[in-house]
């Protein structure tokens, strides 16, 4: 597989503030890559730079081997053959569903028969055939989103960009549309860059996820790798509702206040990443057990979600039964699931 999209050393400042810092990103053909980050992390700016709607201050963007942005060449967005599904879908409200697709195909100057065939195909795979003559205002949110995708599919773009396409839908609809949308994209084998701030969404849609933080990529990996082996406390705090427990690593021991866990830990201050589902009864792994005070418990159906205070940190743990608030709880963690990261000085512990 070859790289369909390569971004090298992308820098961008807005109002004197660096939004993208020497950022590198490479996406393989047919791959779905998510840019995951909080607002202000630069993910949307990167997406718009790839589309050509904003220009970086420096760097190089290559699309299927052709440079579209670089020191000597800037290809305008209308010549890049990139499709984009906007957050608000950007359906042209005065054109019908089929009219939206036809207008999008217009500049390609296809023979009429081929244009018709492409429109019909795109409407078929998105199941919009019966709605082809409706105006966007007469469609539901989910249908509008399908039109936005059909419009991109019909143009056969080299690359498809998704700018938080699910954020305008209610949560019940979101999951259904997400799988439907990604089925379509995968069936057509389109290369996708997908921007979102929702880690569950990113995990569900992506082959690889680039976790972004203040204009840089903090980690770029497969979803399983991010989940099982977050590279930094920041990534760990952003993924999966993990809790971070601060402590001190010493010679095969990790100390948390006056408690000791027998774990291989790098010397010096560090954080222990605790996934909620890893909490076990104290007897299962006595060498890696901890005691804390339960300060809250909420029933979640398959388990109880406890908030447990240890030292200055609050942990989120899944527990099979209710525990009285204010009681002490001793639990253990499987040693092979314990991951200790050196403390990232920039991370405010409260963010965790």
């Amino acid at each position: 597989m070859s790289a369909a999209l390569i971004c090298e050393g992308i820098q961008k400042q807005l109002g004197g503030k660096a939004v993208l810092r020497a950022l590198d990103l490479s996406v393989m053909a047919g791959e779905v890559v998510s840019l995951l980050g909080a607002s202000g992390s630069g993910k949307t700016t990167l997406l718009r730079a790839i589309a050509g709607l904003t220009h970086p201050d420096s760097g190089k963007i290559t699309l299927n081997g052709a440079e579209v942005f670089g020191p000597s060449r800037v290809i305008p967005p209308e010549k890049r053959q990139i499709g984009m599904v906007f957050q608000d879908y950007a359906l042209w409200p005065h054109l019908s569903v089929a009219g939206n697709l036809a207008f999008a195909l217009g500049p390609q100057r296809l023979p009429a028969a081929e244009a018709q065939a492409r429109i019909s195909h795109a409407l078929d795979v998105t199941q919009l055939g019966p709605l082809r003559d409706r105006l966007p205002a007469a469609l539901s949110g989910g249908q509008q989103q399908r039109v936005a995708i059909a419009r991109c599919l019909a143009s056969r773009p080299q690359l498809m960009l998704f700018d938080e396409p699910l954020s305008n839908l209610d949560s019940a609809l979101r999951e259904d549309l997400r799988s439907e949308m990604m089925d379509l994209v995968r069936r057509e084998a389109i290369t996708v860059v997908y921007v979102t701030h929702d880690q569950a969404e990113a995990m569900a849609v992506s082959d690889r996820i680039a976790v972004m933080r203040s204009g840089e990529i903090a980690q770029f990996d497969r979803p399983e790798t991010l989940y099982n082996a977050p590279a930094t406390p920041f990534v760990a705090s952003f993924i999966g509702g993990f809790s971070l427990l601060q402590g001190q690593g010493e010679d095969r021991v990790f100390r948390v206040g006056e408690q000791t866990m027998h774990l291989p830990a790098p010397a010096g201050p560090g954080v222990l990443v605790i996934r909620p589902e890893d909490a076990r009864p104290a007897s299962e792994h006595p060498l890696t057990s901890l005691t804390g005070r339960v300060i809250g418990a909420a029933y979640q159906g398959r388990c109880w979600r406890l908030s447990v205070a240890i030292g200055g940190c609050t942990l989120r743990l899944d527990w099979p039964g209710p525990v009285q608030t204010g009681a002490d709880l001793t639990f253990s963690l499987p040693p092979d699931r314990c991951r200790i990261l050196t403390l990232d000085p920039a991370l405010n512990p409260k963010d965790a």
Binding site: I75, Q81, Q87, W92, L135
Partner: protein, 613 residues
């Protein structure tokens, strides 16, 4: 980055067609060797020449040059002298304007009237807005459309109706409802304040109403849950939050009264209550003309308006509290007890009746009766006035045709220029946009009488313009140009607002699919703002049919349009014919605009009707 052209795109494709000529291949090879400039924006001077210059030229010719001429005339009395023009500075005319008792009195009159009306109109408009927005009152159809109708009806028509009601032999006196002293008091400050208030209260009602709409229900509910009663909520919560809007209303109304010409040329003139605008008109057009005096009076008027506008700017800059958020719930209309409900209904229906229904009824009545003195007697009713207005031989008919023709032409020209300007501004930088928007807003504040006077100075006296064949002084072409100038700022603001409301993603999406600048403008932007363009056309049409000050100053030699003709008929006590003429124009213009608007609403409105999701 939006103003890039097609440069920089040539390198992207190499001609693959074998029949392509040698020249093309050579050209393509050249472009491959020499990379296009990194930045796709036009170079600074080129963008200025192509984008900014035409915009500035249009504004300069239509508005800035006439205004500059007026200001120059005020301090250089000999500048536009047809026999011996000179650039000598001389403030004697200004001195005269500031210290001659007659002129000084008109300045004081204008300020006094403006201050009184600012207070009374703001009170009336605020009350109207509060009652319509916050209380569930019956008979809504009787008062809901009132502000819009009053806003669209020109001042001199309302003045005409009130004179018919309040004159010594008028309808109220005939019915025994108005004592003699009441009639005397009407022709003076009292009557002017009354008619101005009834005709300007929609402005505060709009301003305060939109501020009230921003105070969501949650604020009220929170105060009620803390134990505050309705009066306390109004005094301690709503009133302080509305203060910026109230101040803005006072300022806007004051400026409106200063620049009014409709009442100045009717009630104020017959009452001998001289105000600045009429002074300018008299000095610029009554024989012997005194341009230096008109210029000096215009300078005083503009200075007053500038001061008021600065106050407005300061207020806006201080920034009203921003309470309008997507999350705040719109407030509900409060239910009242039976007594309060009917009392307030009487108040609000009364305001509506006095402001529009009564004047319209009076014009209708007068149009279908023979003499004012015979009043409501059955024998007095006749179709003669209306028949005479519409008869082919009468002078009224060509006036109507002229006015409708000029208005239609003006509406189309102004809307087209505004659309092109809006599109160009959208491509220009943010600075230019801010400049032109500011200029347009400022131009709205310029009284029509001053603009008209500026047109006389430029096109009747300035060498080069004086002999220019088209537009030419004394011809309809110049009148239409004046109309366009006074309508352009309104059109521009309506269309710019509509363009600004389009989500940028709509044009971005078209761009990503390969559409160039022209296609995006014609096929995406234009259809989506067409409703606003049509609205601008229709509003300009109605406004121009009844436009008085510029019509009055630039009457073409070929014949008068409707507004000066109506004022002349009133001057000759021919109020029956004047009423019939006004009625015919109102029905005609209102009918055309109403039908046009209904059509546009049906075919050009792409907003979602209701959420289906």
């Amino acid at each position: 980055m939006r103003r890039n052209g097609s440069s920089g795109t040539k390198t992207a494709s190499f001609p693959s067609d074998r029949r392509v000529s040698y020249l093309n291949i050579k050209r393509a090879a050249q472009t491959r060797r020499t990379p296009p400039p990194r930045s796709l924006a036009l170079p600074g001077w080129l963008s200025f020449a192509w984008v900014d210059l035409p915009i500035l030229a249009v504004f300069f010719l239509l508005i800035v040059l006439p205004l500059l001429s007026v200001l120059a005339q005020a301090v250089m009395p000999a500048l536009f002298d047809p026999k011996a023009p000179g650039f000598g500075l001389d403030v004697s005319a200004l001195n005269h304007a500031l210290f001659a008792p007659r002129v000084l009195r008109s300045i004081l009159h204008s300020v006094e009237l403006g201050a009184a009306v600012a207070v009374s109109a703001t009170l009336t408009g605020g009350l109207f807005a509060a009652l319509t927005q916050r209380f569930a009152l019956p008979l809504r159809a009787l008062y809901a459309p009132v502000p819009w109708l009053v806003f669209l009806t020109p001042g001199y028509l309302k003045a005409m109706a009130w004179v018919l009601l309040m004159a010594p032999g008028g309808y109220l006196a005939q019915l025994g409802l108005l004592p003699h002293w009441g009639s005397d008091a009407f022709f003076g400050l009292g009557g002017l304040v009354l008619v101005h208030t009834l005709s300007l209260f929609p402005l505060p009602a709009f301003i305060i109403g939109s501020a009230l709409a921003g105070l969501g229900q949650d604020l009220q509910d929170a105060a009620r849950l803390s134990g505050a009663g309705p009066w306390r909520i109004w005094l301690r919560i709503n009133l302080p939050l509305l203060l910026p809007a109230i101040a803005l209303s006072l300022i806007a109304t004051f400026a409106e009264v200063l620049s009014d010409f409709g009442l100045a040329a009717t009630i104020a003139r017959s009452a001998g209550f001289g105000v600045l605008t009429y002074g300018i008109y008299a000095a610029a057009s009554d024989y012997p003309v005194d341009f230096p005096l008109a210029g000096a009076e215009a300078l005083v008027l503009l200075t007053l308006i500038l001061l008021v506008t600065l106050g407005d700017r300061l207020l806006r800059r201080q920034g009203a509290l921003r309470l309008i958020s997507g999350r705040s719930k719109p407030s509900q209309r409060q239910e009242l007890g039976p007594w309060a409900r009917w009392c307030w209904t009487v108040v609000i229906v009364g305001i509506g009746a006095l402001a529009i229904w009564l004047p319209l009824a009076v014009i209708l009545l007068r149009a279908f009766t023979d003499t004012l003195g015979a009043g409501l007697a059955v024998s007095n009713f006749t179709l003669a006035n209306v028949t005479e207005t519409l008869s082919p031989s009468a002078p009224a008919r060509p006036a109507i045709l002229r006015s409708f023709g000029y208005a239609a032409l003006t509406a189309l020209i102004a809307a087209t220029i505004a659309l092109i300007l809006a599109a160009r501004l959208d491509r220009g930088g943010p600075n230019l946009r801010a400049w032109v928007t500011g200029l347009a807003l400022g131009t709205i504040a310029i009284p029509g009488i001053v603009l008209g006077f500026g047109y006389i100075l430029v096109w009747n006296r300035l060498p080069g313009f004086r002999d220019w064949p088209f537009p030419h002084y004394g011809q309809a072409s110049l009148l239409v140009m004046g109309y366009v100038a006074s309508a352009l700022p309104y059109c521009l603001i309506i269309i710019l607002t509509a363009v600004g409301q389009l989500a940028p993603s709509l044009t971005d999406a078209a761009r990503l699919h390969g559409h160039g600048v022209a296609a995006r403008l014609v096929k995406v932007v234009l259809p989506l703002v067409l409703l606003s363009v049509v609205t601008a056309v229709l509003l300009t049409f109605i406004r121009t049919v009844f436009e008085l000050p510029i019509s009055q100053l630039l009457v073409p030699q070929t014949g008068s349009p409707v507004p000066p003709y109506v004022v002349r008929l009133l001057g000759h006590d021919d109020d029956g014919l004047a009423s019939a003429l006004v009625l015919v124009c109102m029905v005609g213009a209102g009918g055309i605009a109403g039908l046009g608007w209904l059509w546009a609403q049906k075919h050009l409105n792409f907003a979602p009707k209701e959420s289906l999701s």
